[in-house]
Symmetry: C2
Subunit: 212 residues, 2 copies
């Protein structure tokens, strides 16, 4: 089997340790028992230093032999097809997993990330608050009725949705006990805790070296 | 072969005729020569009238026999696996198509739709303008160097990216000749024109009936 390589930055500010998106791919590999390595590109100059590989200057991207992908969602769907742990192989279970993976990206994160951006930008009034509240309320209703998003069991859709929802400002926005229990349950998984610890260790070591 | 059914609203305001997202699925079916029908659910009461089927009250959703999906991006990826016209079957071409489909949703639309929302909300200052300008600038550079996003030919990634970019306010935002040529070229395809005409005809007829 070809070894998987997950690419991330060589350093990030401490405030985002444990939240950089290579964590999504590390987590998926840990869940599925897929062997992987992690390599880095410079954070400094990221606007231009790897545009040939990632045209928006973002990370993560994934190497799987000759197959190379960017976009964390694309990487997750690529990994999910290697392991039933991440996505069922029956057509109905696969479709449910696909729809909820896309919903995490395009119905929740599409509102949540710009809302977060406006919030930290210090906008006097965050005009995305109503839209975000509606979406998170709809999700709260649903998570009050089921344990997992797709196929009646953990899938890559839960991994991604929990990663979108675990951001502190989102958890602090409104009282949504079913969502909070969902996030707590999923981020208590061993694979998540290992992925987060490994990412944090990499950035912490890089930070110490940078300051030395 | 099971017939595909695309679900949309039974009516929408005239301002969005030709831009409702069932068009993405119609367009994909037209490109691929897949037989499909269109069915509708009421626009009035959409906040609650189909939450069991689509937990955010949105359309489109897709029936493919026992397989049912919501999220236009999930529907497109599902359809793409039925036809090489939409997505190559070789692993490298498939990965490129997947990454650019996700990039359209999560790197471009994730900024463009909230930016559009703030613009039409009449915010004094749209704080997403810098972010959007950066993303569209990065895409302009890339589209100046290649005709298609993935695999050197038209794929579902171009269908989706062009659909994201063809919104009037985005086309009017900045001077991006390569992007404009890309959008013009892709929306000149017969399959797009048929899908747009069919959607418009449905909503126009519904509107006439509603006013009668």
């Amino acid at each position: 089997m070809t070894a998987l390589t997950i690419w991330t930055y060589d350093w990030v500010p401490e405030g985002v340790w444990g939240f950089v998106r290579d964590l999504r791919l590390r987590w998926a590999c840990e869940e599925a028992g897929l062997a992987y390595g992690v390599r880095t590109i410079p954070f400094d100059g990221r606007e231009t230093n790897h545009l040939a590989r990632q045209p928006f200057g973002q990370i993560p991207f994934l190497d799987d032999g000759n197959v190379k992908l960017f976009e964390s969602g694309a990487g997750l769907l690529h990994l999910a097809r290697k392991s039933e742990t991440l996505m069922p192989v029956d057509p109905i279970g696969e479709a449910e997993t696909l729809q909820w993976t896309l919903a995490a990206l395009n119905s929740i994160e599409m509102v949540a990330v710009p809302w977060w951006f406006l919030t930290v930008s210090g906008a006097a009034e965050n005009q995305l608050t109503g839209w975000l509240g509606m979406r998170l309320g709809q999700l709260e209703t649903l998570l009050g009725e089921r344990e997992w998003l797709a196929a009646g069991r953990f899938t890559v859709a839960d991994l991604l949705m929990a990663d979108v929802l675990r951001v502190e400002k989102l958890r602090a926005f409104g009282d949504r006990p079913a969502t909070e229990a969902y996030v707590a349950r999923i981020t208590d998984r061993l694979a998540f805790r290992k992925a987060k610890a490994d990412q944090t260790a990499l950035f912490k070591a890089a930070d110490a070296k940078r300051r030395a």
